[in-house]
């Protein structure tokens, strides 16, 4: 479904991604792990069009994304839920969610989608009128995920959804991600909770200093000596 080939990405003169190639199949749950500053978020941003690659190609189904703008990319059913929540702080939860369904198809089904999203996150339903900026961290994260789902995407990119969340909420988020996945959505996720994520995903890639150094099924990676050393603190 998503096919990335030989991607080079720069910030100004500094190269952060080197020759990245990977793919995600339809209805697959793929995880990207890597240390700080490895370039995971940059990769996500490149796919969703926030950052332009210098070389390489990104295909989603049969469209090429790499020269498109973010607001064009979302029309093809790709939704990026960014690191750090990025809500609209002075808009209500409901308005934030509505902003998630701007393209015509999603807009037509806005009512039903809202119901669905509220069933996933009952907490949000209680807070529809509250300004998003005053939600607690966990609620904000839920709101961000819910908003990303409002466009009824075929695939979601999730960047560190558990960052700064309590253990309990972290588990809740993971449960939700799995639930969404089981509903038939393709997922590409970045996580620092390596152990847990690798355990529930289909496949994983390890990113180091802007390069993909390992690839494999989640369980296999968990067993890998290098992964153990670098990420599991063993």
């Amino acid at each position: 479904m998503l096919q990335v080939e030989q991607l080079d990405v720069f910030y100004g003169d500094i190269q952060v991604l080197w020759d990245i190639s990977f793919h995600v199949h339809n209805n697959e749950f793929v995880v990207l792990v890597g240390s700080n500053g490895a370039g995971k978020s940059t990769l996500m941003k490149t796919i969703s069009g926030l950052v332009r690659p210098k070389r390489g190609s990104i295909r989603f189904g049969d469209v090429r994304l790499d020269q498109l703008k973010p607001y064009e990319i979302i029309k093809f059913g790709l939704s990026h839920i960014p690191e750090g929540r990025q809500l609209f702080p002075e808009m209500s939860v409901l308005e934030n969610l509505e902003m998630g369904a701007l393209n015509p198809e999603a807009k037509a089904k806005r009512k039903e989608t809202l119901e669905w999203v509220f069933s996933l996150f009952p907490r949000l339903k209680e807070r529809t009128g509250q300004m998003a900026g005053t939600l607690s961290g966990g609620e904000q994260q839920m709101c961000a995920i819910a908003r990303g789902l409002m466009s009824l995407p075929r695939m979601v990119l999730l960047d560190e959804p558990s960052l700064g969340l309590s253990p309990r909420l972290t588990q809740e988020i993971f449960r939700l991600v799995q639930e969404i996945h089981h509903k038939g959505m393709t997922i590409l996720m970045v996580e620092q909770n390596v152990k847990q994520t690798l355990a529930i995903c289909d496949r994983g890639y390890v990113l180091e200093n802007g390069r993909i150094v390992l690839e494999g099924r989640g369980q296999d990676l968990l067993e890998d000596q290098r992964v153990k050393e670098a990420f599991l603190g063993l």
Partner: protein
């Protein structure tokens, strides 16, 4: 009984209609690492902000080595010997790492040379010395978190407040962080730490306070707190 090193008494903070901190009392002994945990939005950062003098206290009081902190401005609190890091990092973006830390070191000296010396020591201590001439804005997250700590240390605090300095780090980096924090404590600095990563909290803290809705739900040794049913219910979740 002698006055505790740091004490919060019936601390309360309202934001409009929202009571973010609700009659919270606790104390911290000199030389210990005190963990503050709780679900998101339970008021941990708010407690830090109240200690740091960023918001006026609604009611209750904070005392540090016998001095009441209520209504002192932030910079005076720092002068008293309370250093802090920010959950949302605030590097001085266009200054170099060294300059960032020197600015903090001026807290105890007016002389350039001394502050530079102090700053270099701290950078060495935090493992940032090799990055000292980089501007802070170009620093990767892991180093930025260390810079936060280094800056707080350079003010020569007696009490250090660490707000989620491990979030977003890999387990490997977390382990390094834990070592660093231990080292800081061993140098005689008392620490209050907020963190969601239980492994870090459990291995570092002497005592832990768990709060929810700005109220205490449990306090005690790491083991006691981790097994407390209310904590599991509100915070840890069932494993």
């Amino acid at each position: 009984m002698s006055t505790p090193f740091f004490e919060s008494h019936e601390l309360t903070k309202d934001f409009g209609g929202l009571r973010a901190v609700n009659g919270l009392s606790f104390h911290v002994n000199e030389g210990e690492i005190f963990g503050l945990i709780g679900p998101n939005g339970s008021g941990k950062t708010t407690v830090f902000n109240l200690i740091g003098g960023y918001y006026p206290i609604t009611s209750g009081s904070l005392r540090f080595q016998g001095t009441t902190l209520n209504s002192l401005p932030t910079w005076k609190i720092c002068k008293l010997g309370i250093g802090r890091t920010f959950q949302v990092m605030k590097p001085l973006r266009r200054m170099t790492v060294l300059e960032n830390v020197m600015t903090a070191a001026f807290n105890r000296t007016d002389v350039i040379a001394e502050s530079r010396k102090k700053a270099l020591e701290v950078l060495e201590f935090c493992g940032l010395a090799h990055r000292k001439d980089m501007t802070a804005k170009g620093l990767p997250i892991g180093y930025r978190k260390r810079l936060e700590i280094a800056r707080a240390l350079a003010t020569e605090p007696k009490l250090l407040l660490l707000d989620e300095t491990m979030a977003g780090l890999t387990p490997q980096e977390q382990a390094e962080g834990v070592t660093l924090i231990r080292k800081i404590r061993d140098s005689g600095i008392t620490i209050i730490i907020v963190e969601h990563i239980m492994r870090v909290i459990m291995s570092l803290c002497d005592r832990i306070l768990c709060i929810n809705y700005g109220q205490r739900i449990a306090e005690g040794s790491p083991q006691e707190v981790a097994n407390h049913p209310a904590v599991i219910e509100a915070y840890l979740g069932k494993e």
